[in-house]
C-alpha cells in the first residue's frame, strides 16, 4: 500500500491514533460521526472532504458500526493491522468503561424528569449535528462525475425513501446506490474512451 504524500497531515504513531480516536469517541454524544468530520477533516486534516465521503461510503455499506469501521480503515491505512487495532481500541475502550459506569450509577435515577429533559435536549442537538454533517459534505460533490442535477436526484430519492417512507437501508443501498454506481461506471468509461482518442 502506498502511503499518502508526506506533506499531508497524518497520525504520527499508533499511540497518536489511539489517543485521537479516544478523544473523538468521548466527545460523541448521540453519534460520533459529526465529531469525526469536524476533527479529522477540519482540524487535524488527516482526510480531505472528498476522501472522508469516499471512506464513509465504504464504512456505511459494510456491516458493523459505521464509525468503528471508519476508524479501523484509517488506522489500517497508516499503520497496518496494528494501526487498525489501535484506532478500534481508542474508539471503544473509554466509552465502554463510561457506559458501564453510567449503567451502574444512573440506572436508578434515569427516569427523573430533569434527566429525561436533558436527554431530550441533547437528542435535539444531536439530530442537528448529523444533519449539518451531511450539509457540509455537499461541497464535496462539486468534483463528482455524475454532475450536480443527477447527484441531487439520487440524493432526493434516497432522502424520501429513508426519511419519509422508512424503506430498509439495505434496499436503498442496493437499488438506489447500485443505480448510481452503474451510472458512474458508465460515465467514467466514456471519459477514459474520450481521453484515449487521438
Amino acid at each position: 500500500m502506498s502511503a499518502p504524500p508526506a506533506t499531508r497531515a497524518h497520525p504520527t504513531s499508533k499511540t497518536d491514533l489511539f489517543v485521537s480516536f479516544s478523544l473523538l469517541a468521548l466527545q460523541g454524544f448521540g453519534g460520533v460521526l459529526a465529531v469525526v468530520q469536524r476533527e479529522l477533516v477540519e482540524k487535524k486534516q488527516w482526510l480531505t472532504r472528498e476522501e472522508f465521503l469516499e471512506d464513509w461510503a465504504v464504512a456505511q455499506i459494510l456491516p458493523g458500526p459505521n464509525v468503528v469501521n471508519l476508524s479501523l480503515m484509517i488506522g489500517d491505512r497508516y499503520f497496518g493491522m496494528r494501526g487498525a487495532l489501535a484506532a478500534l481500541a481508542g474508539m471503544l475502550t473509554f466509552p465502554l468503561l463510561i457506559a458501564l459506569a453510567v449503567a451502574i450509577l444512573f440506572a436508578g435515577i434515569a427516569d427523573q424528569p430533569q434527566i429525561q429533559g436533558a436527554l431530550r435536549g441533547m437528542g435535539a442537538v444531536a439530530a442537528g449535528l448529523i444533519t449539518a454533517t451531511g450539509l457540509k459534505l455537499i461541497a464535496a460533490l462539486k468534483q463528482n462525475p455524475l454532475g450536480a442535477p443527477v447527484c441531487w436526484t439520487f440524493a432526493a430519492i434516497t432522502f424520501v425513501a429513508i426519511g419519509l417512507f422508512r424503506v430498509p437501508l439495505v434496499w436503498v443501498l442496493l437499488v438506489v446506490g447500485g443505480a448510481a454506481c452503474v451510472w458512474t461506471y458508465r460515465l467514467l468509461g466514456q471519459v477514459t474512451a474520450q481521453s484515449e482518442q487521438p
Binding site: 500500500m1 469517541a25 456505511q60 466509552p95 451502574i104 429533559g117 444531536a126 455537499i138 439520487f154
Partner: protein
Amino acid sequence: MSLTLTAADWLTLWVHFMSLSLLAVGGAITTAPDMHRYLVVEQHWLTDSQFTSSIALAQVSPGPNVLFVALLGWNVGLNAAGGLGAGVVAWGYGLLGVTLCMLGIMIPSTTLTFAAARWGHQNRELRAVRAFKQGMAPIVIALLVATGWILASGQGSVAEHWPLWLVTVGSAVLVWKTRLHLLVLLGAGGILGWMGWV
C-alpha cells in the same frame, strides 16, 4: 431477575451475536429488533425494561451506539448472578456477558471491513472501485440528512414540540456555518432540557 446459565448458554449467546454481526448494515442498532426477540421473548434472559434501558443508556453515554450491546451482555450477566448484590460474582458474570456480546457483534464485521477496505484501497484506481465511491457520494450525504430528519421527527410534531425542533434547526445551522465546539452545543441542549424549556 435471576436465572441459571450453563456454559452452553453462554456459547449460544456469543454465537447469536456473531450471526447478527454481518447483518448489521447501517449499524448494530438495525439488528436490535432481533436481539429483543432472542434475549427477551425467546430466552427470557432479559426483561423488557432492561432491554430498553440498555439502549437508552448507551445513547446517553459518549461513543459509538454499538455499546448498547455491551450493556445487554452486562445485564444478562447480572441476571445470571442474581443481581448486583451478588458482589464479585455479579461483576464477573457481568463482564463475561460484556465480553461475549461485544466480541460476537464485532469480530465478523470488523474482519470483513478490514479485508474489504484494504482491497478497495489497494485497487482504488480500478474503474469499478472509483465508480462505487463516487456513485455512492450523493446517497451517503442524503442518508446523513435523512438520519437527522428521522431523529428529529422522533421528537414529535413541529406544531406541538416546536422548541425542540428549533434547537435541532439552530444547532444544524451553527455546526454548518460556525466552528463552535460541538460539546458546547450538546451542553446547551442538555441545560435547556434540564430546565424544562424544550
